[in-house]
Symmetry: C2
Subunit: 446 residues, 2 copies
């Protein structure tokens, strides 16, 4: 179902300097028992995502069914881990152009960019829209700001029925939105206390919008349960999460590969790559460690980034994503001029595959390590697998690095300056610090 | 109109280790006469983009007017430099959601991903669509493949009138498409012989779709002419292109900043960042040199990448893009619960600005060099300026690095393997080499 081809990271193929030997990989085998003990110990705390494949879906399916029957627009208000997963499921499983064909149309208000906000508003009808407000803490600035604007609009446009247009997904106890939902009697879902935002796509966070857009979430979890089993295999060479983790760890710490490019040769996985970017960056980017994840789309970025990947600094490891079988294809038929004879009878998918093979081979020749993940078909099952494998690869990698992959302490600093700037009580000192740090300016104005 | 704040790259603000001193910057002043001599020498060859601001637009405006009157859909068939610029102009100037409001609706077929191809086809009506096929060489695989599929469809659906639905933009003499256009009498535009794809947005490549979507291209060129003047200033501290170039060059070669993040706090500049990615990567990623450009969108990526930027490896310089005045805004009004009091009366734009300031200040505190480019308003004029400034910054940087910023030799290798794989004549050896390089496989299948 999913194939992980790691031939092109091996030193036998790309040489000693940039390649990794099988022995390098296998030398990590002795650390596995200790890591697995650690994972088991933290399974119900930090590694809580491991429990998601085994959820009961009865209630959420019922609410989802209700939404499909009563609304024409579904808008997620959330950001980061409360938005990327929802978008990933919709795009990868429902396919491109879902909103042109199906109901309820699906939108995400993540940014507070007012022009983005406005463009979403223009495409929906408030009276036919359900808003799913998602925030773990119940107080994420962007999310509550967007929510407060929408709330005010709802009260004007639909009057006292406004509560029927809201569903709140948040912490079971803490935060403003939990209190608000309970006081006002608004339908709500819990985000498990120990589940981090970027690991939450297979929880209530990602599942409600998925069900509402017609995705078979039972199959999605089935795929993740299968991946759970596969990722419980203690042998590195048989466990895709461990293999991805070990290869990237070696590349990063011993081969100078500070950048992890994920290049998808399927546009339906474009948002999956954004989801991966958050998972990889926020989990592992700590204490001076970690890799910078970079998104690329094939073949488009062959005409943009490949020059750099091949002939620029040798600081990259590339993961190609390939979908074996696509739902549509188009053949080059009819008259084909002589100089383009090589395209005759080929289909776009065949050409896309050849473009990926050509790029891979050019990378091999330039000694740029690369792996290929081939997915037979984009289905709820395969996406459930892929998500779980990457969640485990990330958690596992954190333990290899000796850091905590489940926190994001460096994000707090910026938030505190924002509170200071916006005049929030108890953050007056942060405003002073802001002013101090931004004292003089060197500006060129043209 | 455009402000470049470089306070936060200076060592007086972020310290000696990661910061740059004013003296560092000014020490490059002595190289300027030689570089300017070089630029002047190559102005009509490699630096041909410098002539674009002074074009005559009569014919293209007439054809564009015709399109606006006769078609409901405008589809660019092109990739890389023949697609990114078109998309940038449309999104940044026409704003988000253009296709929901205006005609002709604008689409790009760049990838050969058949599911993407299919999703565009579903949104257009062939009988009301004009296709602008854009390729410098006249033979780019993706472009001619997509074109041949469309051509065949057109012949079936609209019959002998098919030529009226095509406009070809390509080399004045060379290539299959030039010959095809001339033989069949199809409307065509030239891409100047010496103008490279990634520097072509202000030529016929980018302008026809811009005019057709109602953009005032005279104003666009006027902005680029103003930038031309500004970028002719020999003083580094007064020339935005030189200043951007020198700062990134020092950051890259002396401060270990191998990654150039461009983080836009306006979603309308999202595709501008993709355009920049190509410009920076393909021009400067050579001979082991150059920076990897990374795209980020604020505030979304605060919840995805900022943990890494602050606490991960210190290998980044960040450019923030800010738009001072937006076309829409929304205020938080009505009842605001006590714990969110700090948001009361604020607008989304004010919050967005505070989020950027908070992030910038957290980066200062973590000694991550960052610059801010503030654009008063997104207009044809300011976008014309911005594009020209970055084109010149890139060309100028290439001369600092001592490489040729106008070629992309490393891209050829992959293309040749593709020809080999697809059975093109005279590429049999490449197929053999492909087979040799991909001989054995290490695959994990789950």
């Amino acid at each position: 179902m999913i194939k992980l081809d790691y031939s092109n990271v091996l030193s036998e193929r790309i040489g000693e300097e940039h390649g990794i030997s099988l022995e390098d990989i296998e030398s990590f085998q002795e650390q596995i028992p200790k890591i697995e003990e650690e994972i088991n110990l933290r399974r119900d705390t930090d590694f809580y995502f491991m429990n998601m494949p085994f959820q009961n879906l009865e209630r959420i399916k019922e609410v989802g069914k209700n939404i499909r029957e009563n609304f024409e627009y579904f808008v997620v208000i959330g950001i980061g881990g409360s938005a990327l997963g929802n978008q990933t499921l919709n795009e990868s499983i429902n396919g491109l152009g879902y909103n042109y064909k199906k109901y309820p149309k699906f939108f995400v208000l993540d940014n507070v960019d007012p022009e983005k906000f406005s463009s979403v508003l223009e495409q929906i009808d408030l009276k036919k829209t359900v808003f799913n407000i998602i925030t773990k803490s119940g107080s994420t600035t962007e999310t509550v700001a967007n929510f407060l604007v929408i709330l005010n609009m709802l009260k004007s446009y639909v009057g006292e029925d406004w509560k029927k247009y809201l569903i709140i997904t948040t912490d079971p106890q803490r935060g403003f939105l939990r209190k608000f939902a309970d006081q006002e009697g608004i339908i709500s879902f819990d985000i498990p206390k120990n589940l981090g935002g970027r690991f939450s796509v297979l929880s209530n966070v990602g599942l409600l919008s998925a069900i509402s857009s017609g995705i078979d979430v039972e199959e999605l979890l089935e795929g993740s349960r299968y991946a759970y089993t596969v990722c419980s295999n203690s042998k590195i060479l048989e466990n895709p999460a461990y293999l991805i983790g070990v290869i990237h760890y070696i590349a990063s710490t011993k081969k100078g590969k500070s950048i992890s490019v994920m290049m998808s040769y399927s546009e339906r996985l474009s948002l999956f790559v954004d989801w991966y970017r958050q998972l990889w960056a926020e989990s592992l980017g700590k204490e001076g460690l970690g890799q910078t994840p970079v998104k690329a789309i094939g073949s488009i970025d062959q005409h943009s980034q490949i020059q750099l990947y091949i002939d620029g600094p040798k600081d990259k490891i590339v993961t190609f994503l390939k979908v074996e079988s696509m739902e549509r294809d188009f053949k080059i038929e009819g008259d084909v001029p002589a100089e383009l004879e090589y395209l005759k009878g080929k289909s776009l998918k065949q050409i896309l595959d050849a473009l990926m093979e050509g790029t891979k081979t050019a990378l091999i020749k330039a000694s740029v390590p690369n792996l290929t993940i081939s997915i037979e078909k984009l289905t709820p099952y395969s996406i459930g697998m892929l998500i779980y494998i990457y969640e485990m690869a990330t958690g596992f990698s954190g333990l290899l690095y000796g850091i905590n992959p489940f926190d994001q302490p460096a994000v707090e600093e910026g938030k505190n300056f924002v509170y200071g700037l916006m005049g929030r009580e108890e953050f007056e000192e942060k405003l002073q610090e802001y002013n101090l740090l931004n004292k003089s300016s060197s500006i060129l104005e043209v």
